[in-house]
């Protein structure tokens, strides 16, 4: 009985001590003592921790450099891929804009059937002005078909293979087009030259030709349909003792930057050669 009482007393004493310590801790009376006791422990832990982290960094940094370099090269590759993509999209946007413009032009003349073709080359000889387009007889292109853009007349199909065609530009030295001056209603002809300059000839002396006068195809001769914009008069030369006035013209089409053209597929040029009497 005494043993049991003594055990209860001990347990109660321990519980009282624990409760007392807890109370003292919670009330903050033991904080200075704890701080003093923990300081060396914290100091030791900090010392070990800093050394450990330094050692870990020392051991793992080279691996990080390798992975960073790898990541860097991956990102650089990604940047180049995206840059290529941007250039491709810009190119496609440009092409789309040209095609939209051509489509608008085609809608303005619904009576014509057009075959859109990309310009893939030029004649190697600098004396001549020809382009090569990426559609030929397989696409329905035939010799003599007129070629235009949304800006105006480009030329005529000069030779055709199954997959490509050669187009003679109107500024080629051997090209002659019958034209009509819109303002005066006068007919004349334009001819290209080796420099690419286009001259208007056979203009009667009596008519009034001014800079900026609009030039259209006349349709005479059956080589081109009528009323296609060709360009504008840029300068006029009038000589008193000459039968005709002469002028130079600014073509509506920029022949140096042709990328897509339209071939008028439902126009068949007329061969009037048999109708010309032999001398």
């Amino acid at each position: 009985m005494e043993k049991i009482n003594s055990r209860y007393l001990k347990t109660g004493f321990v519980i009282l001590i624990i409760a007392g310590v807890l109370l003292l801790t919670l009330s903050g009376y033991l904080a200075p003592a704890f701080n003093t006791a923990l300081k060396p422990v914290i100091g030791a832990q900090s010392w070990i921790s800093v050394r450990y982290l330094a050692l870990r960094d020392f051991l793992t940094v080279p691996r990080d450099v390798v992975s960073l370099r790898q990541r860097n090269s991956e990102l650089e590759a990604e940047i180049s891929r995206l840059q290529t993509q941007v250039i491709t999209y810009q190119q496609q946007l440009k092409e789309a804009q040209v095609l939209y413009a051509l489509l608008d032009f085609a809608r303005t003349s619904p009576e014509n059937q057009y075959i859109a073709s990309s310009v893939i080359g030029r004649d190697p000889s600098p004396f001549l002005h020809y382009i090569i387009i990426d559609h030929g007889s397989d696409a329905g292109i035939r010799f003599g078909m007129p070629v235009v853009t949304q800006n105006g007349l480009v030329g005529t199909v000069d030779a055709v293979t199954a997959g490509a065609a050669r187009v003679q530009l109107i500024n080629d030295p051997s090209s002659i087009v019958n034209i009509l001056l819109e303002n005066s209603g006068t007919e004349a002809t334009i001819a290209g030259s080796v420099t690419g300059e286009i001259r208007v000839s056979l203009l009667p002396q009596g008519i009034d030709v001014k800079d900026g006068d609009i030039i259209l195809t006349s349709g005479l001769g059956g080589k081109y349909p009528g009323n296609i914009l060709v360009g504008q008069v840029s300068s006029v030369t009038k000589q008193v003792n000459s039968l005709f006035q002469e002028a130079t013209m600014q073509a509506a089409v920029d022949f140096n930057n042709l990328s897509v053209v339209l071939v008028i597929a439902n126009f068949r040029p007329l061969d009037i050669q048999p109708l010309i009497p032999n001398p």
Partner: protein, 165 residues
């Protein structure tokens, strides 16, 4: 090895000439990539069958050119013979030979093209053609001919010694 590579390389040069180089102009003159590359090849020491490659080059140019088919072969053949002839005499200064042949070769090709167009298609004005087309083309060919020569020399030296060893 270069004999096998020659035909596709020439084809590629003709395609580049038609699709890219013809769009780069000085005044109205343009650079003749095929001719200059052939001259650069022909002036390399030990190059063989030069005249054959010139004839093939002329043939391929004739396919894409408006100037009547087969006619570019003649001036290219003449330039090929000139290369063969002059190489034996000026071989110690290959760069000078390159410049000289660029000038002479361009003149031969351009004069022949002018004559062909004049006789068969349209009468081009002589002075304008010379000043606006022939002279700028010659200047371009001479200037661009030097880097082309160096490129062809590097290409030639990297393939031909392996072939001959």
């Amino acid at each position: 090895m270069y004999s096998l590579l020659g035909v596709p390389v020439l084809l590629l040069l003709v395609i580049l000439q038609s699709s890219v180089v013809s769009r780069i102009n000085l005044s109205n003159g343009s650079f003749d990539l095929v001719l200059i590359s052939l001259i650069a090849f022909g002036t390399q020491r030990g190059s063989r069958h030069t005249v054959f490659w010139f004839i093939l080059g002329g043939f391929l140019v004739g396919i894409v050119s408006v100037i009547r088919f087969m006619h570019p072969i003649i001036p290219y053949f003449i330039v090929g013979v000139m290369v063969e002839y002059l190489k034996r005499r000026v071989w110690k200064v290959p760069l000078l030979l390159m410049v000289l042949l660029s000038f002479l070769g361009t003149m031969v090709v351009q004069v022949f093209a002018y004559l062909m167009i004049y006789l068969t298609q349209v009468q081009l004005p002589l002075i304008t053609s010379f000043l606006q087309v022939t002279l700028p083309s010659t200047a371009l060919n001479i200037v661009v001919g030097i880097p082309i020569y160096l490129l062809v020399r590097d290409w030639y030296n990297s393939y031909v010694p392996m072939e001959e060893e």
